[in-house]
Amino acid sequence: MPATKIIEHVLNEHCIPALESDTREAVIMELADAFVASGALTEEQRDRLLVSVVEREEAATTGVGNGVALPHPKTVEDVAQLGQVLIAVGLRADGIDFRATDGEPVYIVFLVASPSNLEYLEVAKRIAALARGGSRAEKWRRVVRQSRTAGAMREALEDAWEELAP
């Protein structure tokens, strides 16, 4: 088991309940900017992250279905300088075209920057648990999407992961 819970890597400052951007690249940028605003990344680190994430996204969508996407850098080496996993989460009520695998718009976006591949796999597992089929995951996606504040988003994710993939 991982030493820390995934939710501990989701900070209120990195939760955006109403994304202003409505395109895939702009959303990724808006989420990466949250890392800069909080002091988690320098502008230079953000720029490096952005190049890698967009490159990865162009190779194959990270829109995994059911309105969820998890953009991430092409390789962990691109964010090797980070001391820990950074996760930014954004919601967009009217959806974003992420060219998702199911062709549907994306409403919940997780930007995941992990310097460790193993930790990335732990995060991706939780995001997959939220995106999976079935009524329980669907209920939690609804709860997350209805969050109106950063704190509510974080709480919803914490509860969702506690039930879906502790």
Binding site: A60, V76, L118, A129, R132
Partner: protein, 114 residues
Amino acid sequence: MQTPGSQPVTEGSDQVVRARVTMGYDRGMHARPALLLAQRAREFQADVALVLISCPVDISTPPGTRADAKSMLDLMFLQAPRGSELDVEAVGADAEAAVEAIEALFRDRFGIRD
């Protein structure tokens, strides 16, 4: 890297075709390999599953966890970092071909070259 050849095993009335594979892709069960696997598995009528047998490092997914190989999200739940061993199991008319196709994908590291 993996045990060659799939072996039909009779279990009850269903013929289960099973083969052991090893995750040779550096990054493990990321979204991309999961998607490629699911797409390939969906080409077959057989029910295809992947079962995590062992993992060389400590992860939260326990051995024995089973995923529907036709579901990308189910597959991501396995985590399966590099070096993990998994069983491919298929039941159905084209089970043998399905297992062979999944084995080939693992052998080719999902065809991902970057």
